[in-house]
């Protein structure tokens, strides 16, 4: 059967023998797919020194014959080789896995016979603006687009379809420009006014962002192994804003690739560069970081080249490209642009990996400015009060001589204090019980007075596996401890001693057999820079031994004083007043705690004889407890504000961004693409087969970005308009939107593509281009398919009718929520975790995502939390790309899993019952309600025969639910949204079931 069809196609093309063969359209694809592997750009693989990708080589003499002699079939070795029966001479060789069809051989023969005219690969030549082709039906075109489409249709003997009816068109364009269905009130508006309104809607940015997020492999987790959360949503919101502000595409490009390098780059421009940090990051224990550092850069090159140039650059990582004129040298020259980020090959397990910036929202920036302002004022106020306070303190101190004040110390967040002086002999320790249960996100501080014996190392305090038999899974050393080694105070935070731990120590040593006060502070930041150690109140210089903490070090061990990490590591000497605080103490507090004398004793010393420690302590005591209320208030106000600011700063979202190292890393060709096989050194540059960068351009990412959108670049505008075309028409003019190389498909309408590209390059105005496309007669056609069209052009590449395309995963969701009136439309913010079946995370990794509730259940699909190793199952079922790598051409399949999800996923069941409730509120009769529900989903009224089926279905359901109230109750209470309990349960359930049916209609999930 299939063979038969093929035969007809071949005959059809043979019948058109008078047509001129066109190299790029007809011949290059054959040569590329069949011959280039051995006779193409890759010099390493090339056989017989023959290139069929270069005209001069293909027409030159090789040994004793010419490969191609224009016009002479019998003298062309190529023709002999592809037609001979001699198995040794036959091309392509039998064992190559490539074969030519009879039709392809025929085309090659006709091409040689016609003179074997050559063309450079179309996409590497800058687009020229073509004239509009003449058309017979001059009344049909509405704009330039239509001239190209109609001319081709007429050439093929097909005619365009009539315009779709207004309601269908309204639904189509509303879905296309906003990703949502039209609201019922949006009727009878002139089409262009409708388009303008949709383009101005903030929903436009959300709709456009979704596909850009696919291209940018945006996700909310890092993607490898344990797949921890990261925070990149500030970039996602930047994209939405950029589309809504109609940022020109050249600026959109420059800011995302090189925004940080723009002169005095703004925060949004830095945020934009997160595009190139969206790749996955590997935090698995034991990886070789250098290996993955290379993968990140490779990912940037691949993604950037696919998204902007439609080049499969990754093919040139290990060897010269097999099909396109791209060398390995070209690949690593691009690599060199993206290789200078001060990053680590090993990513952080949970959170953002360096480099990252705080990326406050506009509202947060305002709030922070206000806080800073209030702090400045509070400080000024306290300074003004200083003379008064000093005098008051002196007066108060005098009273202490007569009557001692109760002992005073820092008690806020003091979880536990072990007062007693204890002796440690290297064997005994104090079991402190369940105290200090801290993990790596917790802030904490320890303080102690210690008097170590000379030359004895040992643990001062710990919560650490002490004995191998303590735990079935952890190893000794797991946990935290403060340790004394050669008199130096160390902090160890350990998951795995060798490569998953944080270890710092003081440069200074504490002397043996003398009392010293130590304070160790950890701020929960998981890095060595977040640790402070004080000896006698003095901040210590720290040496960092390891700064690779990547998992929590929390254990179920008790708090031990004088022990930690095994019997060999016990403390020897004395300790007293060991304290555990559940926050990071301020520097001043470390000072206060190191002053051993009581406030009363300090008061007895003359002011000039007091140490700084003592002066600080007595001032703090006075200001906290004894000063006049106004003075105390001034101090406490300042303290409160400072803490508020600290808390606020921690709430500011961060974002991984691009930064440039002051001295760029050396880049080398990597032999076979392997990270530890550097070859020849390379420098940043663009592929040699493309126009060069201007002589005065900066040779960095910014210069590269400017080159991408320069007039001379033949690819960027074509690739960009093709993606927009694909978004609206389902298939690009170049079907292989990810590959504009010789293995890609040539454009169906090359002149139209070039016309659009040149038009776009005039101002890079995305909204203007979208408007041009959606107001074309081509776009406005009916999607009804005629048998003639189906026979002649089953893929509808000629566009004799509008395409029918299944909605994207996001649109399927958003439409249901919108029709139901459940959709919560807030733009941006952290990603949300709507309903998903429980246990999905557990079966993979042991832990489930914690799902959201309330409004967060009803946000648009683009805000759904994207966990790369376990994406939302309904998203995946409806073909959402996995976001592990760049995707510019989403697929559309049709599977039973989609049917199951639409019928049974709580999201859609709840949407159906909410839709039912909505129409019950808005309409009174059974028929009006059914029609209204249908209209909300499909933007049209049901036809008479449809209505008959719908009403019969409803009546049957109603009877059933009347006799089974329990079932009715179950169905209409599905989901968390509130139900109007005044509605008749059976009617509501019957209508809910019917709405479920409507949301499952083919038409409902199709844009047509």
């Amino acid at each position: 059967m299939n063979r038969l069809v093929l035969l007809f196609i071949s005959i059809a093309s043979l019948l058109r023998a008078q047509d001129r063969i066109e190299f790029n359209r007809d011949i290059r694809p054959i040569l590329s797919d069949t011959c280039f592997l051995c006779h193409g750009p890759d010099k390493a693989r090339r056989k017989a020194d023959l290139r069929l990708d270069v005209e001069s080589s293909a027409k030159a003499k090789h040994e004793d014959h010419f490969t191609i002699v224009p016009g002479k079939l019998d003298q062309s070795e190529l023709i002999r080789r592809i037609t001979t029966d001699d198995a040794d001479d036959r091309m392509p060789p039998l064992d190559s896995g490539r074969q030519l069809t009879k039709q392809q051989i025929d085309l090659l023969k006709r091409w040689v016979a016609q003179g074997a005219s050559w063309q450079a690969h179309w996409s590497f030549i800058a687009p020229q603006r073509p004239a509009l082709p003449p058309v017979k039906d001059s009344a049909w075109p509405r704009n330039a687009v239509d001239h190209f489409i109609l001319a081709k249709l007429e050439h093929e003997g097909l005619s365009p379809s009539p315009e779709a009816d207004a309601a269908a068109l309204q639904r189509r364009v509303t879905l296309d420009l906003t990703g949502l269905p039209p609201a019922p009130s949006e009727t009878s508006e002139p089409y262009t006014a409708l388009v303008d309104r949709l383009l101005a809607s903030p929903r436009f940015g959300e709709r456009m962002a979704i596909r850009w997020l696919d291209a940018a492999r945006y996700a909310d987790t890092s993607g490898y192994q344990s797949d921890g959360e990261r925070w990149m949503w500030r970039w996602r919101d930047w994209v939405i804003d950029a589309y809504n502000a109609n940022m020109p595409f050249d600026q959109f490009t420059i800011e995302q690739i090189g925004g940080d390098l723009l002169p005095s780059a703004t925060l949004p421009q830095k945020i934009a560069t997160a595009f190139n940090r969206n790749h996955r990051g590997n935090a698995e224990g034991g990886i070789v970081p250098e290996e993955f550092a290379v993968e990140y850069v490779v990912d940037r090159v691949d993604t950037t080249c696919t998204v902007w140039m439609g080049l499969t650059m990754g093919c040139a990582r290990c060897h010269d490209h097999k099909y396109d004129p791209l060398t390995q040298n070209d690949f690593y020259s691009l690599f060199a642009f993206f290789n200078n980020v001060p990053e680590k090959g090993k990513a952080i397990k949970v959170g953002n990996s360096v480099p990252w910036i705080p990326a406050p929202t506009t509202a947060q920036q305002r709030e922070l400015a206000q806080l800073n302002d209030r702090i400045t004022k509070a400080e000024a106020h306290l300074t003004k009060l200083e003379p008064v306070i000093a005098a008051a303190q002196l007066a108060w101190e005098k009273t202490l001589v007569e009557e001692a004040t109760p002992p005073w110390t820092v008690t806020r967040s003091l979880q536990k204090r072990f007062d007693k002086t204890e002796d440690f002999d290297g064997r005994r320790f104090v079991d402190g019980g369940d105290v200090g249960d801290f993990g790596y996100f917790d802030k904490f501080s320890f303080t102690a007075w210690i008097k170590p014996h000379a030359g004895k190392d040992g643990a001062i305090l710990s919560r650490m596996v002490e004995d191998q038999s303590d735990s079935a899974f952890a190893s000794i050393d797991e946990g935290y401890r403060v340790f004394l080694k050669d008199g130096r105070v160390q902090l160890h935070l350990t998951k795995r001693w060798l490569d998953d731990a944080l270890r710092v120590e003081t440069e200074e040593q504490v002397p043996p057999d003398q009392w010293r006060h130590i304070t160790v502070v950890y701020d929960g930041s998981r890095v060595a820079a977040g640790v402070k150690i004080f000896i006698n109140g003095q901040p210590q210089k720290l040496r960092v031994h390891l700064d690779q903490l990547n998992q929590t070090f929390a254990t179920k061990q008790p708090f031990r004083i004088g022990a930690g990490g095994g019997a060999a590591n016990r403390f020897q000497g004395q300790m007293r007043d060991v304290r555990v605080y559940t926050r990071a103490l301020a520097d001043e507090e470390s000072t206060i705690l190191a002053a051993a004398e009581s406030v009363t004793d300090i008061a007895k010393l003359p002011v000039s004889k007091r140490t700084d420690l003592q002066a600080t302590k007595i001032r703090a005591c006075f200001l906290t407890e004894h000063a006049e209320p106004a003075q105390r208030a001034a101090q406490s106000e300042l303290n409160t504000l400072r803490e508020q600011r600290a808390v606020f700063i921690e709430s500011i979202p961060t974002l991984m961004v691009m930064e440039e190292m002051p001295v760029p890393r050396e880049a080398h060709i990597l032999k076979r693409g392997v990270y530890d096989q550097p070859g020849e050194r390379v420098f940043p540059g663009v592929p040699a087969s493309l126009p060069p960068m201007p002589a005065d351009a900066k040779v960095n990412r910014l210069g590269f970005a400017q080159w991408l959108v320069s007039e001379k670049n033949p690819l960027t505008a074509r690739v960009a308009v093709n993606q927009l075309w694909q978004m609206l028409f389902g298939t690009g003019l170049v079907k292989t939107s990810e590959d504009f190389g010789s293995q890609g498909e040539p454009p169906s309408h090359p002149e139209l593509l070039d016309w659009l590209a040149t038009e776009f390059m005039r101002d890079w105005d995305v909204k203007r281009l979208m408007k041009l496309l959606v107001t074309s007669a081509t776009y406005r056609q009916s999607s009804r398919i005629t048998p003639a069209a189906l026979g002649r052009d089953p893929e509808n590449r000629l566009l004799s009718h509008a395409p029918r395309v299944r909605l994207s995963a996001e649109m399927v969701r958003d439409q249901a929520l919108a029709a139901a009136g459940l959709l919560v439309e807030n733009i941006g913010g952290p990603s949300v975790k709507p309903y998903q079946p429980s246990g999905l995370g557990k079966e993979l990794s042991g832990t489930d995502l914690e799902l959201d509730h309330g409004d967060k259940l009803f946000r648009r699909g683009l805000y759904t939390f994207w966990k790369r190793t376990s994406p939302h199952p309904t998203m995946t079922a409806f073909d959402a790309p996995g976001r592990e790598m760049c995707c510019v051409r989403p697929s559309r399949t049709d599977t039973p899993l989609q049917a199951l999800a639409l019928m049974n996923d709580i999201t859609f069941v709840e949407a159906a019952r909410a839709l039912a409730q909505r129409v019950m509120h808005e309409m009174q009769t059974r028929e009006d309600r059914v029609c209204h529900a249908f209209r909300l989903a499909l933007n049209r009224a049901p036809k008479a025969q449809e209505l008959k089926v719908l009403l019969a279905d409803y009546d049957l359901q109603l009877t059933r639910f009347r006799s089974d109230p329990a079932s009715a109750r179950s169905l209409i209470t599905t989901g968390e949204s509130l139900r109007d309990n005044l509605l008749d349960p059976a009617e509501h359930a019957a209508l809910a079931a019917l709405c479920g049916l409507i949301l499952n209609l083919d038409e409902a999930v199709t844009k047509q």
Binding site: Q99, T101, Q225, S226, D227, R280, E284, G285, G286, I287, V288, C315, K346, F473, A474, S475, I476, L498, T731, K735, S742, S783, I785, E795, R804, G839, E843, L844, S845, R868, S870, P873, T876, A877, D879, G882, E884, S891, T893, D894, T895, P896, L897, A899, L900, A901, M903, N904, E946, V949, L950, D953, R960, S967, S970, L971, T974, N1000, L1001, D1002
Partner: protein, 473 residues
């Protein structure tokens, strides 16, 4: 029946799925369509389906299969440099001061006519040893779990390529009318419950159309996601809804003539059939007590490896093409002896039972069974070494897997390692070779099963892979 059927316009695949059971014929048509008669004769298929028992985390070959009696005398001695040869180590042990030899604590003995060596941890496997082909010379390139398991599943270390099951779904189509062609089943090890995670991509379809992705069968909630009707809608109501849905969709088809509509109608019918066929498959209540005795006590507990082995047999009976079990818990950097005992308790009896059960039902001849992890473990100890307690780091340079059934010679051992189970001394088999061999058993020439993506004709085996002929029947 065209259930998981092709309808994506972007598919450039050059073949159609045949009816159920077409198998190699469908493949032949794929090869021949573009190539005329020269496309290559299909290979004879020995196996119709695969059950792959993936042991995630990497089991220690030294404590299960690869008997090295000479190590006992070297307890605690440093691994000689002549053996290590400066090969790269993971960051978890690269910084260790010493690399002390850790002999296995477990006793080994020979079993069956073939005299295969197995440790005392695998008494049940020992009983079916003559059915198994042990490959002791597996090796891989990756030294960490994510890239290594991704490599085993897709032929590439980085995410993005189709998994082996999806290649088979694409290449061979489905062998049944109302179940997916490719199913994944997961279980957690009791040896090390906090072990390495799994990822959806391991049974994903990469750049192949989504319909080829593995369908995960679950032990809690619906066996297949969203299989059950919502509360309040019973099967009768669903049937009625589907009838009306079909009526309305047909009206639409009459209006717009899009063949895609008929495909959608068919997909809803298949979904409906799955609502019956899947519960029928997962309901083991009619299995006789002898079945549970065979697979062991865990087989009565849904979600265990044993229960999944039983389900795998039931899927094989129903024509599921590629059934893959993933059992977590083998990543034993510390406390290996204690943890591995738990893992073997989970897997030994049911794995052996599956082989025996398939055999007694006449299914082993055309079912290929594979058992193994993503790499091996080091002979040297990670962490503290005592005679009874040790840990082992990742070791990609050699490890053992076994295969059995369709197309594979039972009762043989292929390949050899050195006295330290550190390097391969004979007949190395890499991951691509294993893939080529699996495809071969199913009648597929691994160089010819291709899919064009980003301008390249991709293969499961990339540009590598040799069929391991000595293990074939």
């Amino acid at each position: 029946m065209n259930s998981f059927i092709d309808h994506s316009l972007q598919v450039t695949r050059r073949h159609f799925f045949g009816r159920a059971g077409v198998g190699a014929a469908a493949l032949a048509s794929m090869m021949n369509e573009a190539a005329g008669a020269a496309g290559g004769t299909p290979l004879p298929a020995k196996a119709k389906r695969v059950i792959y028992l993936f042991q995630s985390g990497a089991p220690s070959q030294l404590d299960l299969f690869d008997h090295k009696p000479g190590l006992a005398a070297r307890f605690g001695a440093d691994l000689p440099n002549s053996i290590r040869q400066g090969q790269r180590l993971t960051g978890m042990t690269a910084g260790q001061d010493r690399f002390p030899t850790a002999p296995s604590r477990f006793k080994f003995a020979q079993h069956g006519k073939s005299g295969a060596w197995l440790s005392e941890l695998m008494p049940h496997t020992a009983r079916v040893a003559d059915e198994l082909c042990f490959i002791k010379s597996m090796h891989t390139e990756a030294i960490n779990h994510d890239p290594a398991i991704t490599f085993f599943q897709t032929g590439a270390q980085l995410a993005g390529r189709p998994s082996i099951g999806s290649w088979l779904s694409y290449g061979l189509g489905s062998e049944n009318h109302d179940l997916p062609a490719f199913v994944a089943l997961l279980s957690n090890g009791t040896g090390n419950p906090m072990d390495q995670p799994l990822y959806d991509r391991l049974w994903g379809s990469g750049f192949l159309p989504t319909k080829h992705q593995g369908v995960k069968f679950r032990s809690q909630g619906d066996p297949v996601l969203f299989l059950s009707n919502p509360p309040g809608l019973d099967a009768g109501a669903r049937r009625r809804m589907l009838d009306d849905l079909a009526k309305l969709n047909q009206m639409e088809f009459a209006e717009v003539n899009d063949p895609e509509i008929n495909t959608r109608i068919a997909q809803y019918e298949l979904a409906y059939r799955m609502q019956t066929s899947v519960p029928d498959l997962t309901d083991v209540s009619n299995e006789p007590a002898s079945t549970f005795d065979l697979y062991g006590p865990d087989s009565r507990t849904p979600g265990t490896f044993a229960a999944n082995c039983l389900l795998a047999r039931r899927m094989a009976e129903r024509g599921v093409r590629f059934i893959q079990l993933f059992h977590r818990g083998w990543d034993q950097h510390t406390k290996l002896p204690k943890q591995i005992e738990g893992q073997c308790r989970d897997t030994d009896q049911p794995s052996a039972a599956l082989v025996a059960d398939l055999k007694q039902r006449g299914l082993l001849d055309d079912t290929l069974v594979v058992w193994g992890g993503e790499f091996g473990r080091t002979v040297y100890c990670q962490g503290r070494l005592t005679p009874d307690d040790y840990g082992r780091d990742h070791h990609p340079r050699c490890f053992t897997i076994w295969m059995a059934g369709g197309g594979i010679k039972g009762g043989i051992t292929h390949g050899e390692t050195d006295d330290f189970s550190y390097n391969i001394t004979r007949d190395p088999v890499d991951v691509h070779d294993l893939h080529a061999t699996i495809l071969h058993c199913l009648g597929i020439d691994h160089t010819k099963l291709t899919f064009k993506f980003q301008g390249r004709h991709y293969r499961l085996t990339d540009v590598f892979g040799k069929v391991v002929k000595p293990v074939l029947t």
